[in-house]
């Protein structure tokens, strides 16, 4: 069962969903996603240039 664990984005218009982390730069986007990937044991997928989604492929 696949589940979206979190969304990390630079795009402030992304509002739908439970766990959204807003970032201000590309580096921060990567850094937060990296940390979340390790914590959540979920895979980081880039869905657009400014948004990364963490999915548990369980």
């Amino acid at each position: 069962m696949k589940r979206i664990m979190a969304v990390v984005t630079q795009n402030k218009s992304v509002v739908n969903g439970k766990y959204i982390f807003y970032t201000n730069s590309e580096e921060e986007l990567q850094q937060i996603s990296f940390t979340l990937e390790k914590i959540l044991d979920a895979t980081a997928h880039q869905i657009s240039d400014d948004t990364i989604m963490l999915v548990d492929h369980g």
Binding site: Q30, S33, F34, E37, K38, D41, A42, T43, A44, H45, Q46, I47, I52, M53, D56, H57
Partner: protein
Amino acid sequence: MFQFDYLFEERYTLGIIIGIIFGLVARLYMLQTDYRQYPTYPHGIIVHMSLGVIAAGLGSVAIPALFEQDYTAVTFLALAAQQFRDVRSMERETLTKIDSSELVPRGSTYIEGIALVFEGRNYLVIFTSFFTALFVVLFSFWVGILAGIVTIIISAMLKTGKTISHVADVYAGKVNVEKSNVYVDDIYMMNVGLKVNQDLIKQHAIGIVLVPKNKNSAASLSNLGQRKAILHDLSTVLGAYRDSGEPALIPMAKLDINDGRLGILLVVKDCNIDKAVQMVKNVPLLESSVRMPSEAPVKGGE
């Protein structure tokens, strides 16, 4: 002093002893522990050798029973079948339990295949000792030995199954990372969001492409269990470059739905592509992944 002549006079005893010896030799021969390290040494081997003795005993004892017209005694062969079905479920249970602690799991199809082989090989042992004992009792000691050697050769031929090289051409593919998408040649594999992981894949990943030889082989390659078996064997030999909690580096096998090619992406410690290609060719073709769509009794439309 032990009298050897006595043995030659007692055909049945001689038949049983030679039958058991040849059955054991056959079991030992079929119990090779290779790079997969299964069965585990030494206790896994001991378990299977002991079961081999039982199988060999059952096979050779059936002969005197038949000759003495004690037909009901032969029904204990049915007991043997029950016994060896238990071997199969024992192997299945053990491997399934172990599988949850593997970084790259074998998958249930591979496990079922291994368990099936363990059961089948015990029957081959029965077959070997049955015929050896039969020929000792019917003809002589030497004819029995000869029959034993022939049956071991037959068992050896039955033992070797097909490998991936029989169904597919295997060659090295190029791993392309385009933005966050990873391809092997032109087969889409997965989306990797993190730059760190993209760099790791650029450095350590190897790509392999399997081209099915015909319609039947395409069916085998599309079997998910067969793919897991390939990935498991590959990462056993080349070393998976991953740890728990690194889901992005998981080995992948994806199909090109249009032409049935299978792309394999693996992040490995030992980036030796020639070894990897050779390894994939030697992966056993799982019996349960074999389909024969070309044999179906249907005719194509006009």
